[in-house]
């Protein structure tokens, strides 16, 4: 099962990187999202995966009696997801703003080439 996750993570990374190389700002943004998802899965894998044992202590008990999924990666990913949302929304709005200004989605239109002599 881990193998499947590893492959999916590799695909997410590859797709994200490929999207980053595109000229369209929207694609760039989608690439960042895919890359973020890939990174989340990588972190998740680092804590090993456990089926059907969420890190929640039983009603009756005070400590874990059975094995349980590693809570640290989960806490990290939760933070990453929410922060990622903040960044994405800011980036999307930035994109919108750029679009209003230069009426283009093309990253190359943002370039102001520097003068030859500095």
């Amino acid at each position: 099962m881990e193998i499947l996750l590893v492959i999916l993570m590799g695909l997410l990374y590859a797709a994200g990187i490929y999207m980053l190389f595109r000229r369209s700002m929207v694609k760039l943004l989608l690439g960042i999202m895919l890359l973020g998802n890939g990174a989340n899965i990588l972190i998740f894998l680092l804590g090993r995966i456990t089926k059907g044992q969420p890190p929640v202590i039983d009603e009756a008990a005070k400590v874990f009696t059975d094995i349980y999924a590693d809570p640290i990666p989960q806490a990290l990913i939760l933070t990453a997801i929410v922060i990622g949302f903040g960044i994405q929304s800011f980036a999307i709005v930035l994109l919108k703003r750029v679009y209003v200004l230069i009426n283009s989605d093309d990253l190359d239109d943002l370039n102001t080439p520097e003068d030859e002599d500095i």
């Binding site: 929640v56 939760l78 709005v93 919108k96």
Partner: protein
């Protein structure tokens, strides 16, 4: 959107979703859930309302601009962080009332902190989405 079904559904869904979000928030310490998820669910409820009735009406319904929730939440979280200092304990020490309170359950400083997170999340999400919607109009 001018769908009667959606309108009717939304008018029921909004209170239910809000109630559900509070439920998720309160059980967070013992079961899956918590401030982040709760806040997100509550904001989805308002976003749904906004889609159905228009942002103006949702803002009217909320009476205050959602941005107000951000400083409120931040203040609440900060206060709950520093409350133990008043008792001479280090910052962020967990303070708990010994007996559970009916319906809410155990009450402690961590709950207020989570409530702060909940408010900030609602404030942030709604501010972003409503600002964009208004900008488009």
């Amino acid at each position: 959107m001018k769908s009667t079904i959606l309108k009717t559904a939304t008018s029921y869904l909004l209170p239910i979703l809000l109630l559900f979000s509070v439920f998720i928030l309160l059980r967070g310490h013992y079961h899956p859930g918590g401030g982040f998820v709760g806040g997100l669910i509550a904001s989805i409820a308002f976003v749904l309302h906004g889609f159905t009735y228009g942002t103006e009406n949702t803002l009217k319904l909320m009476r205050y601009h959602p941005a107000v929730l951000i400083p409120a939440g931040l203040a609440l979280a900060t206060l709950s962080m520093f409350a133990p200092v008043l008792l001479g304990l280090p910052v962020m020490t967990g303070l708990w009332i010994d007996e559970p309170i009916p319906v809410i359950g155990m009450v402690g400083s961590a709950l207020f902190f989570d409530l702060g997170v909940y408010l900030v999340v609602i404030g942030v999400v709604l501010t972003i989405l409503f600002t964009i919607t208004q900008y488009n109009e």
